[in-house]
Symmetry: C2
Subunit: 340 residues, 2 copies
């Protein structure tokens, strides 16, 4: 890659952490580019917008300083709905931002153009351009964490739906009347296969003495039932926790069957912290229950794959979104400009 | 419409009946055109391909004779998977056609070009071009009969998926472990909201004396539990049968919630014989359960509407598919040709 490739910053604004990456993107070709630097910071717990802006700006500056190059623009991925055209964050369940002009504020703080993207859409875009979905025309991304989010690729492009909210795979009801979901419904995929769903079962098993390694790793505090604790419990030989993972995989497979029967994609990428830690076991169970439920002949047409970009999927997709958006704004033939 | 508009024949090949319509389509503009004639025939019960070809040819000739005009081509809608490019019927669960070159055989019998289309896709195309989905960019069609089929519109075009099988809304699992479905799975939308699903419940109620009007209309013969019998039972005051319809509507609404949360369409059209007979009651129940389950704000973005073309949706879509296909084959600038 040419050393004068424009640099874009991609930021993943999470409820607990901020990940910023600087990527050098060859102007002549599509792709994720070269990761020049990656910085992690904490999301301030104050719920004050200006503290969040300051923390993002600090992470971005730090990623840029490590990269040592001027920057063409920044893309930031938001955990919630937004107005892309206006650069407005609509609301964020866990961050306290509401109808907030984040693009404008951050652009003023950093002196560079800023583009907003939804975090799950950014993750799918990252995998599409430079990860597990590279080259796909029709595909789906499913990201498993506290909740389950998703994104749809149709004809090689992110499909956003008629009002920008397409891709809610997590709230597909698989068992009407089943366990309660964060959305208020019952039996959604998210209520059956998210890390939160697994944590509920694993905690009950640990508390009743059936998962001693889990009890060692996380005690009985629900908040400690993170992916790393599950990994420890599995390594520690908790068969009951293995069963919880298999059960989540079973339900993930039911959800995948619905998605594949409906959309006939060539691939589904499964990402998020859970898959990075014990994705192999989860996906094995998911593939089995999916294949049991697919229409005749469909199983051979679809690949179920793990995320290739992992933690970098979202910041990479955010940087790509920024690059695309800024290139679309520039008059044809105009030269790429860089601002420090 | 100009009296010299080219005429296309659209045929709906069903398991029990064949519907053929002749449509005059103004060459200058997209649209369903003018219905010149409509003919119904019986599908032969012999399961011999040549008898089926003869019956289709007879219906098409009869429709053409009534129309009194030369014909540019014929589109035929098939209840099963097909190879459009080769004009091959892959298989038809209820007709006995398997890997059969229907386009070629029918073209030889009629002396005109023949194009195949899937029946549900044809129905969605008909509603999109000239029915309830006119003008939609992103929409879904759900057709309720013995089973439940569907089709997806993305960016104003039928979305077929990576291997041509997209749109299987009927086999979306809503209640894993629920009632058995014709596909072999349990708890699919089709097993909960098709006419077959309603018939199972209504028959049990009639047999146990709780639905006297239904018993009068259809006895205890499962095959007689058709849409017309349901209509008679509802008119006859069978509250229990009304409950069966409301229950099917409830499940239809759960399925619609999944579809709308996933695809964020601007409209969903619901068609098929069931909706023609008692669609108002069914859709009222469906809208209520859907709205209970949609993500915040989505209910206001989507219209749930009944088919406008009814019985003519499928033949109309087949004729449109024929017209499009034949226009795409013709070199640009060549004149429209007609053959008798």
């Amino acid at each position: 890659m040419a050393s004068d490739s424009p640099v874009f910053i991609g930021v993943d604004l999470g409820a607990t952490k901020i990940v910023a990456a600087a990527l050098a993107m060859d102007p002549g070709k599509e792709g994720v580019g070269e990761v020049l630097s990656q910085v992690k910071g904490k999301t301030p717990r104050t719920a004050k917008a200006k503290d969040i802006v300051a923390a993002i700006a600090e992470a971005a500056k730090s990623a840029l300083a490590s990269a040592g190059k001027p920057c063409a623009g920044l893309g930031i991925a938001i955990p919630g709905p937004l107005d892309r055209a206006k650069g407005l964050v609509r609301y964020t369940p866990n961050l306290g931002l509401e109808n907030y002009p984040l693009a404008q504020e951050l652009s003023a703080a950093l002196g560079m153009p800023v583009v907003l993207e939804n975090d799950v859409q950014a993750g799918v875009l990252g995998e599409l351009v430079g990860g597990a979905l590279r080259g796909c025309r029709n595909a789906v991304g499913v990201f498993i964490g506290t909740g389950i989010g998703g994104g749809i690729v149709i004809n090689g492009e992110l499909y956003r739906g008629s009002t920008g909210s397409a891709g809610e795979v997590g709230h597909m009801i698989l068992m009407e009347g089943g366990p309660v979901c964060g959305c208020g419904n019952y039996g959604c995929l998210e209520a059956l296969a998210s890390r939160t769903a697994m944590a509920k079962d694993a905690l009950a098993l640990a508390a009743s003495g059936k998962a001693p390694a889990m009890l060692d790793a996380a005690g009985t505090d629900f908040r400690k039932y993170r992916s790393s604790a599950f990994e420890e419990a599995l390594e520690g030989g908790d068969e009951a926790v293995g069963g919880v993972v298999d059960r989540a995989g079973f339900w993930l497979g039911v959800g995948l069957a619905n998605i594949v029967n409906l959309l006939n994609p060539e691939a589904v990428v499964v990402g998020g912290g859970v898959t990075a830690r014990f994705g192999k076991r989860l996906l094995k169970a998911a593939r089995a229950s999916m294949e049991d439920r697919l229409m005749t002949g469909l199983a051979a047409t679809v690949r179920i794959v793990q995320s290739e970009l992992g933690d970098l999927a979202v910041p990479t997709g955010a940087a790509i979104a920024a690059r695309r958006d800024l290139e679309a704004r520039r008059p044809a033939g105009a030269k790429e400009k860089s601002a420090r």
